[in-house]
Amino acid sequence: MTDLLTLLVQQSVNGVYLGCLYVMVALGLTLIYGVLNQINFAHADFVTVGAFAALFTATRFGTKVLGLPDTGAYLLSMVAALGAGALLGLAINAAVFAPLRERGDELRPLIATIGVSVLLENFQLWLLGPIPYQFDSPFSLETIRIGRIFFTAQSVLVVVAAALAIVALYAFMKFTFLGKALRAVAQDRETAGLMGINPNLLIALTIVIASALAGVGGALLGPVLVLTPFAGATVIVKAFAIVIIGGFGNMQGTIIAGLLVGVIEAFTVQYLGSGLIDLVVFVLLLVMLVVRPTGLIAERKEENV
């Protein structure tokens, strides 16, 4: 392989890995928007909670209590992060979002997501302190080399986890009764209710799934992030951009946009400079808003989620 080709392949590999990380975060955002028509500003903090849940499961519970090897403990930590995200989503929906939704006001739940975000950040700050935690996945330390191309075992895990999440979500939406009911709620909440579907239950389910995805995203991002109670905020702006580029509420669009942004970032670093990453991504966002405001894939709303 020539040097140039090696470089192109290597940066593409880097970009796909980065894109999969973004997709894991952005999927939950787009799912909530698709069903609730609501932006969840607390999503970043669900990611952070997932990362911390994974950290403590991997480094304390998994290895020290259960005596698992590092790799087993890390895999267990992903399950724990998924559970922590789901439980947190369930609790916050029951305590904050659901009561506000019942009042029929659209603005209050939106503002409440900001409140939840501040609350979660400061609770974690109080509980865990501001000094960054070191979270090394055993897979991050394993470098795989194919010729001159290298990647870590962690990046393989991220790509596999993202692919599994996408397939599982797609299958759930397309082939299960709950998935179909959820799409019906996304299409028309009131009519779905008249058909015997409980919209509140399905909205709660949506928030739980989105939060669980954020939790797993946190477990995968933990070894990449500088892990503090504010860590999720460093990826959430990019995730919002991806959701907009992909088309708000559109899962396929979000996946394509996530991978696209990851690859664009990698090549921006190579050819323009890493200092210009945000500029390039947000220029792309603005161009999309002007040229194609519906996002990469524009579909009817009911087909989005």
Partner: protein, 382 residues
């Protein structure tokens, strides 16, 4: 009746007495403006540890003056630091302000304190502009960008025989100044800078940057100016790309005083061969250093090793104490005493401020290299 009146009078006198004493109590008010939230919050937390330790040691007061401290979170943000300092000036009326740690925030508060004629004692920012802008109330005990980068460039060229460099730095005043401070002398000596790669503080994955560096050809040194968390991830990515010694490559990653003690353990094997300039070295034998470490461990735990951030904050209080010992009673006299300090020994060396308010004594600054077992090996380069 007379007895009752006398009893009331006595009770009133007793009640008023502490108030009067309080009113007459002599206090040096110290505002501390540091990041306690956000990615640079470890500066504020460690800084507070150092300051609290020093305050405990001087709780009896100095020259009849009690040291009163108010901490404020400025989040490493120019806007928040500005608002915080304005509030401090308005409500707390400090005689001196310690802070900020991040250069951008330090620069933001300097003109406000200058206008208010309140001394700013900086213990953690490197940007040249802080002491090169003609401020009369700014003093800095932390080595500036030039004082850190020039020795790095010299060591890279002369000791490590480096001829090519890739400079990695965060996109801040501090990062830019350090990068420039390395580039100019390195190029003047005959070295070549293959690339200057900057990045925001929100960058988490450095694999693409490592790939780019690998594509640049033979790189001898990689001076790096970033916060600890990003430097750890950067070192690991460079090792995975087999660029630095820790990953089986030949390039030497170099760093500034920015990094706290403990970086090597966090970066793991990737940090092997990392050469850095240090000012506070826990292995140094000076009595003031060992006394500080002993007291620090008593207060915070036997297994804790203080970092340069703990030490610089501790030293900031030692300097204020020294000024008060020499008769300082308010902001003007603190400023006056600071300008006259000479070779005041603290944990991070000796302090002598030049005409611009910059500490000019770098006698304890030296280089260390991270070994395979992640310990430091002192290098006799200055």
């Amino acid at each position: 009746m007379k007895r009752i009146i006398w009893s009331f009078a006595l009770a009133a006198a007793c009640a008023i007495a502490p108030l009067s004493a309080g009113a007459q109590e002599r206090v040096i008010r110290i505002g501390v403006v540091m990041p306690i939230s956000g990615p640079a919050s470890y500066f504020g937390v460690m800084g507070r540890e150092g300051i609290d330790l020093a305050l405990e040691q001087f709780k009896a007061g100095v020259n009849g003056y009690r040291l009163q401290v108010q901490y404020e979170d400025s989040a490493c943000s120019p806007l928040q630091a500005t608002n915080t300092v304005k509030r401090l000036l308005d409500q707390f009326k400090p005689h001196i302000v310690i802070g900020e740690e991040c250069s951008d925030a330090s620069l933001a508060i300097a003109p406000i304190l200058e206008q208010a004629k309140v001394v700013q004692l900086n213990a953690g920012s490197v940007t040249m502009k802080l002491t090169e802008s003609g401020y009369k109330y700014v003093f800095r005990i932390f080595p500036n960008a030039e004082q850190q980068s020039l020795p790095l460039a010299k060591v890279a060229y002369e000791k490590l025989k480096a001829r090519t460099a890739v400079i990695l730095h965060e996109k801040t005043n501090a990062g830019n100044d350090n990068a420039e401070g390395f580039e100019k002398p390195f190029v003047a000596m005959g070295g070549k800078v293959l690339a200057k790669i900057d990045f925001g503080r929100d960058v988490n994955d450095f694999t693409a940057i490592a790939t780019r560096i690998a594509s640049l050809g033979k790189v001898d040194v990689l001076p790096t100016f970033a916060l600890e968390g990003q430097t750890v991830r950067l070192s690991q990515a460079l090792a995975q790309a087999r660029i630095v010694k820790g990953g089986g490559g030949n390039a030497v990653q170099m760093g500034s005083i920015w990094l706290p003690y403990g970086y090597d353990q966090k970066a793991g094997q990737a940090s092997e061969g990392y050469v850095r300039i240090v000012q506070f070295d826990p292995t140094e034998n000076r009595k003031v250093v060992q006394d500080f470490i002993k007291a620090f461990r008593v207060k915070y735990g036997a297994d804790k090793v203080p970092t340069h951030i703990n030490a610089h904050a501790y030293d900031a209080i030692l300097l204020i104490v020294e000024a008060v010992r020499r008769g300082a009673t308010d902001t003007e006299s603190i400023r006056d005493r600071f300008t006259k300090l000479k070779d005041v020994e603290v944990t991070t060396g000796k302090i002598t401020f030049d005409a611009k308010g910059q500490n000019s004594d770098l006698s304890v600054v030296h280089f260390v290299e991270t070994q395979k077992d992640l310990s430091w090996k002192g290098l006799n380069w200055q």
